[in-house]
């Protein structure tokens, strides 16, 4: 690629023609990322809490359940996302009747991302000092109080950072799923950029993803800092 063609490609990447292709893909991506994030946030939090609470040193020790849960999580985490998505697409057929397109992929994406976010939540909650838990215990707090009024609020700044990492992972996994028929930016990047050598479309899709990830990281950092500042911890 020589200099002139690069500039031409760049110009073309910002042309209306390119964006007519990319814009619908942005919506599809945002749609998938949004709903995957909601599912991941909910089930990942639950998973993380269960992992911490049922640990041998947790507030409701249940070593066998913990070991089982841990190995299921590790099982999913040891497979490449691509494989997990392929494996779980039939699951979408079972739940919503179809196994292709953005909707179907949300379930596959959530299955891929929940174990990852669950582990992040686990490590965030583990940062809360044992002393705080004991102080709560010593005034008669029950396990539910400890989770809701101690562990989660105390871990909040760290949880926000973990969540930020998870959302970014969701964005990139969504792009990956795009190549498996989910649509969105990943799909466009591969269909046009790779298969048809339309570098301008590829470039535009990549730029949008970079901006998306930067925005998520910026928002996450800001929010986490805001909470720390409010608590006068920084």
């Amino acid at each position: 690629m020589n200099k002139t063609t690069f500039i031409e490609t760049l110009q073309s990447a910002f042309s209306g023609k390119t964006w007519a292709i990319v814009t619908p893909a942005i919506y599809e991506t945002l749609y998938m990322v949004f709903f995957t994030t909601i599912l991941t946030a909910f089930f990942g939090m639950l998973l993380g809490i269960f992992l911490v609470v049922t640990d041998r040193d947790g507030i409701y020790p249940s070593p066998r359940f913990n070991a089982l849960l841990g190995s299921v999580v590790n099982g999913f985490r040891s497979l490449p996302s691509m494989i997990v998505i392929i494996l779980t697409l039939p699951l979408s057929r079972m739940i919503i009747g179809i196994s292709y397109g953005p909707k179907a992929c949300i379930i596959a994406l959530a299955v891929t991302c929940v174990p990852m976010f669950g582990r992040l939540v686990e490590s965030s909650i583990l940062e809360v000092s044992k002393g705080k838990i004991e102080a709560a215990r010593s005034v008669g707090a029950k396990n539910r109080d400890i989770v809701l009024k101690v562990l989660l609020p105390e871990a909040l700044p760290s949880l926000i950072r973990s969540f930020t990492i998870a959302v970014i992972a969701i964005v990139s996994t969504t792009a990956l799923a795009g190549t498996l028929g989910a649509g969105g930016l990943g799909d466009v990047a591969v269909r046009f950029g790779y298969s048809r050598f339309k570098t301008d479309v590829l470039l535009a899709a990549v730029l949008v993803m970079i901006v998306l990830v930067q925005a998520v990281q910026f928002a996450g950092n800001g929010l986490s800092k805001f909470v720390l500042k409010k608590r006068h911890l920084i």
């Binding site: 102080a135 609020p153 105390e154």
Partner: protein
């Protein structure tokens, strides 16, 4: 030397009774016999000090009283209640009657001063208005009314421990346990926290058990004391008696150290 009697015989003798208390930790294939049969009787309204070197088992002992550690053997009873026999649910209830403060304060960073103090009331299911009123009352007692909306991150060590004390007192406990509560504080702040403990002991007729490795703390506020060595009580009695006529080697060593490092001579090996 005239032996001075610090304890007044009262109908509240033996309010807290600990007998044959044993606790062993068994991490993996190791085994630590931390408490090897502890017997203690503490009167209602007493300020009782337990002194011992690091690792003697002081924290374990005090934590057995509200069952933050589960004793392996022995009995602990408070008044008519056998702590060691309580079910989990009963224990949660009973813990509201035993406050504890810690060396590291263990305040919740996510909550304001008022929020930390209201925590015990919230988990006890207290009504909002009553909680708010009680929080202001207690903050007044520990002289922190003007800091109600501050976060722990904005407070000094001494102020944090006052919040710890306020939290421990929120549910009107009968007993306050103190695990090296002043050990992270400078001498001046230590004094003011001890003064506070003294005044609540008098005002609220609260029984205080405090453990420490600093004899000064014991001398300043305790009426009775025990010396813990390697999981056993090697000496107990009124503070004045132990200080003036120590029987155990540990107590003697403690007093020697307490009198100042000067007692051990100079770094060049010269005696005093």
């Amino acid at each position: 030397m005239t032996p001075v009697k610090n304890t007044v015989p009262s109908p509240h003798r033996g309010f807290i009774r600990i007998s044959g208390l044993k606790k062993t930790f068994q991490p993996r294939d190791k085994r630590f016999d931390v408490l090897k049969g502890v017997d203690l009787e503490i009167d209602r309204g007493d300020v009782f000090g337990v002194v011992g070197f690091s690792g003697a088992g002081k924290s374990t002992l005090i934590r057995c009283i509200n069952r933050l550690e589960e004793p392996d053997e022995g009995d602990i009873s408070i008044g008519e209640t056998e702590i060691t026999r309580l079910s989990k649910r009963e224990l949660d209830q009973y813990r509201q009657k035993i406050g504890i403060i810690f060396q590291q304060f263990n305040l919740l960073d996510a909550r304001t001063v008022a929020g930390n103090v209201s925590f015990p009331l919230e988990v006890a299911g207290e009504k909002k208005e009553k909680t708010a009123k009680r929080v202001m009352e207690i903050l007044d007692l520990v002289d922190l009314s003007d800091k109600a909306d501050f976060y722990p991150g904005q407070l000094s060590g001494g102020q944090k421990q006052r919040v710890g004390i306020a939290r421990a007192l929120a549910n009107n406990p009968d007993i306050l346990l103190s695990d090296e509560a002043t050990s992270a504080l400078d001498p001046q702040t230590t004094l003011s926290v001890l003064d506070l403990l003294k005044s609540i002991n008098e005002k609220l007729k609260l029984t205080i058990i405090l453990i420490t490795h600093e004899l000064n703390v014991i001398r300043y506020i305790c009426k009775n004391m025990a010396v813990l060595e390697d999981g056993r009580i090697v000496e107990k009695g009124p503070v004045r008696r132990v200080f003036e006529d120590p029987k155990s080697e540990t107590a003697k060593l403690f007093l020697k150290i307490d009198a100042g490092f000067a007692n051990f001579g100079w770094s060049d090996g010269e005696g005093i």
